[in-house]
Symmetry: C2
Subunit: 298 residues, 2 copies
């Protein structure tokens, strides 16, 4: 082919934004999604709608997988109509999910054995940044994989960190970010809950903390949801049940203690099972008894 | 008097900066400190050196107490040569320490009964900001106390939050900030320790996190100390043993659970008793086994 095609498997909040960004930046894109009609809706503005990962992979030199977890990535590659069977020798698989780093290392070996390149490439930044090409990627890969698909990486994101010369480092840095993000959300909730318990004005507390040394990116972002009484999920409680679970699994493999991540994981599980699994992750504040939360504006 | 005098009791890192700022902004200042010679050294550049709190209070309309904790504040007011005995009726006591909010509420009552005003006014920002007049104050007080000493407050700091119309709210917001700050330092250490355990390059991890949603003010500030291998105390491990203890005491008074603050408190106590009590609070990372920390540059 004179112009190569990039395949995007998974058109959720992040995948749709990535596909749009690559299309905007002049790439031929081929897309598929498990939801009927999603690929066709995207391709109405440009690009090729495919029925499944195998069809995408058959016409793409670079395949970008933007699904929820390792199990879905396994299915994308090796399930019915999976991509691995149709990818061409020398093609590259870019793995964007948040996964156990040890799983990602193993996947690099499995794909290399098939003559395929692999890039460990978790993403961060949210749907809006994915759609505007401003998201962050935490990547690691062998030099030949970067040589084959580095241009596509750079066109997907605003910032592409290259963290090592084989799979693993990208996923490790991603889960360490999730460790911090999860604990920061949970402690933001704990702090705001204590303020409400003590009768501090919530708006004033937010104003002081966001201008003080106690601030975090997550406090500033998520406690705005609590003040607004709006638990519409941007990222749900169950995402952190999963991601902090991955963090703990990774550390357990070398018997490494993570007291704060373990505590925060318990808090998100408590919130999930109490009925808030699909609410915004800031709903972890609902596990605290004896307080009255701000209500949604009418 | 035609020009009033402000007394500053305690010329430690914060008190010396506050006294300098008030002097720079045209106030007559009277100072004392338990360390022999400290008051005289300060007064050599302007101001009146006093031998003890009673002498300071006898010539000051506003007395600012900048000592470590509630016990020292008690001694400043009611100990030998204490300030309470010599403060003039209608004078104002500004309490800048981090204390149990319930103690601060009680102190307001005790001083009001003596005909004195009281401002609950914990401070934040560090020595450099105190000296340049840029620190933050989290205050609450009765309107008559603000009327008597609000001008002095505004001259002490870059930002003066007025959080309520009696004592308590200032100290509550301060300890909530300390809850967040303490947990953020401990989780920053936990995350960096996991990265080291997993063989991630520490500098690269710092670069990614400080540009991602996992960032906090404390991660960015304190992990720079860890990367430099420099545990010279700016704020020591034992400060968070104390401050998270205050947080937990406050919450215990209403039987309110704080799972993350309780876990972080255990981590700082472990660091303290393991021999790192007087090191920088980022030395909490030294409780993690099985890792090699960056060494100090030669």
């Amino acid at each position: 082919m004179t112009t190569s095609t990039v395949g995007i498997i998974g058109l959720g909040a992040m995948g749709a934004g990535i596909a749009k960004t690559l299309r905007d930046r002049g790439h031929n894109v081929a897309v598929c999604d498990v939801r009927p009609g999603a690929a066709e809706a995207f391709a109405a503005q440009g690009g090729t709608a495919c029925a499944n990962p195998a069809e995408v992979a058959a016409i793409s030199q670079v395949v970008v997988s933007v699904v929820v977890n390792a199990a879905q990535t396994e299915a994308v590659l090796f399930g019915e109509h999976g991509a691995a069977a149709t990818m061409q020798a020398g093609a590259t698989f870019i793995m964007c999910s948040t996964v156990d780093p040890n799983w990602s290392v193993a996947m690099e070996g499995r794909l290399n054995a098939l003559g395929l390149h692999y890039i460990d490439a978790p993403i961060s930044g949210g749907a809006a940044k994915a759609a505007s090409g401003q998201m962050t990627m935490m990547t690691s890969a062998k030099p030949e994989a970067y040589a084959a698909a580095g241009k596509v990486l750079d066109d997907m994101a605003g910032k592409v960190y290259r963290l090592g010369d084989c799979a693993g480092a990208g996923s490790k840095v991603k889960i360490i970010n999730q460790l911090l993000a999860g604990v920061h959300i949970a402690v933001a909730a704990e702090a705001m809950a204590l303020g409400l318990r003590e009768g501090v004005k919530a708006d004033a507390l937010y104003d002081v903390i966001t201008n003080s040394a106690g601030n975090s990116w997550m406090f500033e972002n998520r406690m705005a949801h609590v003040l607004a009484g709006d638990y519409t999920p941007l990222s749900a409680v169950d995402i952190f049940v999963k991601d902090l679970g991955l963090v703990l699994d990774t550390a357990r493999a070398t018997k490494f203690p993570l007291p704060l991540a373990a505590t925060a994981h318990q808090m998100f599980m408590q919130a999930s099972t109490a009925g808030f699994a699909k609410e915004d992750d800031s709903a972890v504040i609902k596990i605290f008894p004896g307080i009255t939360l701000p209500e949604a504006k009418a």
